[in-house]
């Protein structure tokens, strides 16, 4: 006690040492928040560009799931109109084909989702459609992971993830867009 009183007598300044701590706290707060505000988005791998037209492959029509989006942002799936809300469930049914129907994919590895849009399609619609298709694949992979390993896909180790990716490959093929509805 005697010590402190003697110190007080020597310097009458307010102890500003804690100011540094407050400033540090603020500094760390800003450092953390600026890194947290990360960018997220739908990751897509584009095909390699080639000048030659792609080789025409004979595909069994039952394995192709064609999705068309027109300039009025309407969906045509395998020749019939569909709402975007129903797209994911129908795509899942097509790929997994649980009842072995004759008009759906033979097996997931053979399934191809073909997406074609117009130059006048709204980007919002396009991304929503792409997102639904990707969601269908992701959900199927998740279901497969739960069934096989009892864990969700993202928590599996790399090798098991690869096995499931091989069993359900993500094939979304994008065709050259049509040009009917683009505003000049």
């Amino acid at each position: 006690m005697g010590k402190t009183s003697s110190r007080d007598r020597l310097s009458n300044e307010i102890n500003a040492g804690s100011m540094a701590d407050i400033a540090f706290l603020l500094l760390i707060f800003f450092l953390v928040t600026t890194t947290i505000a990360e960018d997220k988005g739908v990751l897509v791998k584009l095909p390699i560009w080639s000048n030659e037209p792609p080789p025409t492959q004979k595909m069994n029509t039952r394995n192709v799931y064609s999705v068309l989006v027109n300039a009025q942002n309407q969906l045509l799936v395998r020749g019939t109109p569909m709402r975007i809300d129903d797209l994911k469930d129908n795509t899942k049914l097509f790929i997994s084909n649980p009842r072995k129907e004759a008009d759906k994919a033979e097996k997931p590895t053979k399934a191809i989702v073909s997406l074609k849009n117009d130059r006048g399609t709204k980007y919002d619609t396009y991304l929503t459609v792409y997102n639904e298709l990707k969601a269908a694949y992701n959900e199927l992979r998740n279901e497969e992971a739960l069934k096989k390993y009892g864990k969700e896909f993202e928590f599996l180790d790399v090798e098991k993830q690869r096995a499931i990716r091989a069993a359900i490959p993500l094939v979304i093929s994008e065709a050259e867009p049509t040009n009917f509805g683009e505003e000049g």
């Binding site: 010590k3 003697s6 110190r7 020597l10 310097s11 300044e13 500003a16 040492g17 100011m19 540094a20 407050i22 400033a23 540090f24 603020l26 500094l27 800003f30 450092l31 600026t34 990360e38 960018d39 997220k40 988005g41 739908v42 990751l43 897509v44 791998k45 584009l46 095909p47 390699i48 560009w49 300039a71 849009n117 117009d118 130059r119 006048g120 399609t121 709204k122 980007y123 919002d124 396009y126 991304l127 929503t128 792409y130 997102n131 990707k134 969601a135 992701n138 867009p177 040009n179 509805g181 683009e182 505003e183």
Partner: protein, 155 residues
């Protein structure tokens, strides 16, 4: 112990820490300013659509950003209201995309170059025509990893 007390007793006070907060505040302001500056000024209005199946962009140095949208009010007089592409901090044509990608690539080490992702920040009301043209330019330039920037949708 007595040694220390003696010294202090001789009226030579401890080093003042009063300037420490100032130094830290300076650092703080530096970081605050720098983090704002790093993002290029947006000359186009971008309101990204919503999605659920999203991937995080891991390293910011490996990402190049492209913005597509209508020019903001300030630039409407000179650039009109048609959606335009912005690379870095200025308006650009599609023909400038390869150079833009190359410039970004040259800043990176050889090993990292195949991990580059292009982040497309596209306004949701833009039509696909302009996006398709950008996609073709990217494919021609060999930049195949693309991330369509989006907001999280509550499902």
């Amino acid at each position: 112990m007595s040694k220390f007390e003696k010294k202090r007793g001789k009226a030579s006070p401890a080093i003042s820490t009063a300037s420490l907060p100032d130094i830290i505040f300076m650092l703080l302001f530096f970081f605050m300013v720098v983090t704002v500056l790093r993002d290029s000024e947006l000359k186009v209005a971008v309101n990204t659509p919503q999605a659920t199946e999203m991937t995080k962009l891991e390293k910011k140095s490996l990402v190049n950003f492209m913005f597509v949208g209508k020019p903001v009010l300030k630039y409407r007089a000179t650039y009109g209201t048609k959606p335009r592409l912005q690379l870095g901090d200025k308006f650009a044509e599609f023909s400038e995309i390869p150079l833009f990608l190359e410039k970004h690539k040259s800043k990176l080490r050889e090993k990292e170059r195949d991990k580059i992702t292009s982040s497309l920040k596209v306004d949701k009301d833009v039509t696909m025509g302009i996006v398709t043209d950008i996609k073709i330019a990217l494919r021609k330039a060999g930049q195949l990893k693309v991330n369509y920037s989006a907001k999280k949708r509550a499902s």
